[in-house]
């Protein structure tokens, strides 16, 4: 990590954050800086320490060691000051579904001391921005998953925070809804200039971010723009199939100086410049080549390279399990 002086537009600065539970060290020394107005993504598998880190930055957890300043305020010394300046959208829903959308927003405006002269105006504006105006007077229990998420984002913005924290904002939503949420988040950033700090374990979503920190086992293993991270993989991923894969692999190594990864009849290689490599490959290879494909590396490739394993949905999080238990309990009561 570079040791530059925090720029004037740094809105989040963490240094050496550590969170230790009895035996587990969930966060093991995290440094990061987030600039004003950017969408900063925190990417990693479940249990990597994403939620713990975001909780420390939101003052919901105290770090065991290290410091963090959010909106210029120390998270340990003045948590209330931080909370007034940040918006939060939790991983788990936190709406009152008996109330209407507008009532949920009203509640928030009150507990965040939004001036009464501004309350209605801001609520109307956020409802419009999140395209919830027509459903504002319906009870939240009638909302779809995506609408609930949008309402939570609208709510998080009501007190005009400098930074909006989104913890897995699209968890459990279908791909189309996820895309809508992203469009809204992006619009929010553009129209309100708010900094977005989000966690996700969906690789494709991380592409929407300006910068990404890849976290694994409590540490940041890479940080950069999506393109910078992908460049770490080494250019392009070229895949060929051949009826004589052994001969092809040998030739590629000898003639082209690249060691392909072998998977049955498929050979996969990472090359700096795929567009120049493919014609050479076809020209110089004597072994038969049946198909050639080339693609840009994805963040999946990046994660694979950095950690040696693929990111995936591991077992359901503890909260999910709790929630499932709660709903079983409710079902029994009814």
């Amino acid at each position: 990590m570079n040791e530059e002086v925090a720029a004037a537009d740094t809105v989040i600065q963490a240094k050496g954050l550590v969170k230790r539970y009895k035996e587990v060290e969930a966060v093991r020394g995290i440094d990061l800086e987030v600039r004003a107005g950017e969408i900063f993504g925190f990417l990693g598998p479940n249990g990597a320490g994403k939620s713990t880190t975001i909780s420390i930055l939101c003052t919901l957890l105290k770090p065991t060691a290290g410091t963090a300043r959010v909106a210029g305020i120390d998270v340990v010394h003045d948590p209330a000051g931080v909370r007034q300046r940040i918006g939060l959208v939790f991983q788990d829903p936190s709406l009152d579904d008996q109330l209407t959308g507008r009532e949920n927003l009203d509640f928030h405006a009150f507990i965040y001391s939004v001036p009464s002269s501004e309350r209605r105006k801001r609520i109307d504006e956020m409802l419009a921005l999140m395209q919830l105006t027509d459903r504002a007077s319906s009870q939240v229990k009638t909302y779809s998953g995506g609408m609930k998420r949008r309402l939570e984002i609208a709510r998080g913005m009501l007190h005009q925070p400098q930074i909006l924290f989104l913890d897995e904002p699209t968890l459990g939503l279908d791909p189309q809804t996820r895309q809508t949420i992203w469009a809204h988040v992006n619009e929010l950033r553009n129209s309100k200039g708010v900094t977005i700090f989000m966690t996700t374990h969906y690789m494709d979503e991380a592409e929407y971010c300006d910068r990404i920190a890849v976290i694994d086992r409590g540490q940041i293993v890479a940080l950069g723009t999506p393109d910078e991270l992908k460049a770490m993989v080494g250019g392009d991923v070229v895949t060929i199939t051949s009826s004589q894969p052994d001969a092809a692999a040998r030739e590629i190594k000898e003639v082209l100086g690249v060691t392909p990864a072998r998977d049955n009849g498929t050979l996969r290689m990472e090359v700096p410049d795929g567009k120049a490599f493919v014609p050479r490959l076809v020209r110089e290879l004597k072994a038969p080549v049946d198909t050639v494909s080339m693609r840009r590396p994805s963040l999946d490739d990046v994660f694979l390279k950095l950690t040696g394993r693929a990111i995936r949905d591991e077992e359901a999080s503890a909260t999910d399990q709790n929630r499932a238990m709660a709903s079983r309990f409710m079902a029994r009561r009814r």
């Binding site: 040791e3 530059e4 002086v5 925090a6 004037a8 740094t10 600065q13 240094k15 939101c58 003052t59 919901l60 957890l61 105290k62 300043r69 909106a71 210029g72 305020i73 209330a80 000051g81 909370r83 007034q84 300046r85 939060l88 939790f90 788990d92 829903p93 936190s94 709406l95 009152d96 579904d97 008996q98 109330l99 009532e103 009203d106 509640f107 928030h108 009150f110 507990i111 965040y112 001391s113 001036p115 009870q139 709510r155 400098q162 709790n322 709660a326 309990f329």
Partner: protein, 293 residues
Amino acid sequence: MSVNVATPAHAVALPLPADTRMATLRAIYIIWYRDILRFWRDRWRLVASLAQPLLFLIVFGSGLSSSLGGASTFGTKGGLSYIQFMYPGIIGMAILFTAIFGAMSIVWDREFGFLKEVLVAPIDRSAVAIGKALGSTTQAMIQGLILLVLAPLIGVTLTVPTVLAMIPLAAVLAFGLSAFGVALASTMKSMQGFQVVMNFLMMPMFFLSGALFPLNNLPGWMTVLTRLDPASYGIDPLRRVVLSASGLPGPVIDRLGLTINGSVLPIWLEAGIVLAFGVVMLGIAVVSFQRRD
């Protein structure tokens, strides 16, 4: 390493709640208001909730008064029926159950995530306990006082002064028990403990409160328990008011009322005891909420 990270100038100028006390009051108000809104939205529940007291009064009351017959303490003297005796107790029951259930909705809020929205807000946590206690108090008062519409059926004549006396007494009982419920809920992490509270606290509190039978001439152990039950001190004043409205002579009322070492407690003292209990419980709830990480 970074050299003295200065606080950006604009951060200082941002509007914070100018007056924390005002912010806390606003938060108490909106937490209370949310409870009332939900209560009002669920109006059918208000109607449905009349079923249980009615069942008690009609089935339990009629059944018991006919089997007790003229032999009962209240059978002949002053023309008081068991149902009339029980009626204020049933109002107390409605208040007891609504207050504690209402306050325990905090546990539901925790289970379904809404509590998080409140707990992360830049407000004093005491607002959560106070707002919730006041919300349950209001609901319990309404649930209890709505039973006054049954008075003509029971043969109790209500006058304006009687009703005006009932309101503050119902409020005090509702507050004491709501605060108790909030204190309980503040220590509970999940719905699991709910059944325990129901069976080991609410039901005993109800049975020992004097709602169903006079608290005099009981076995010693039971006398002690009934005097430890805060609900006893809330239900007795309600009964005194209702019975004196029914034209029952004072000495008879005293004989049916709550005594300590044989002496009758004045209504204001009883109400004071419940109020003090409520304040202590609320204090515990506030501390408990503030201590959560």
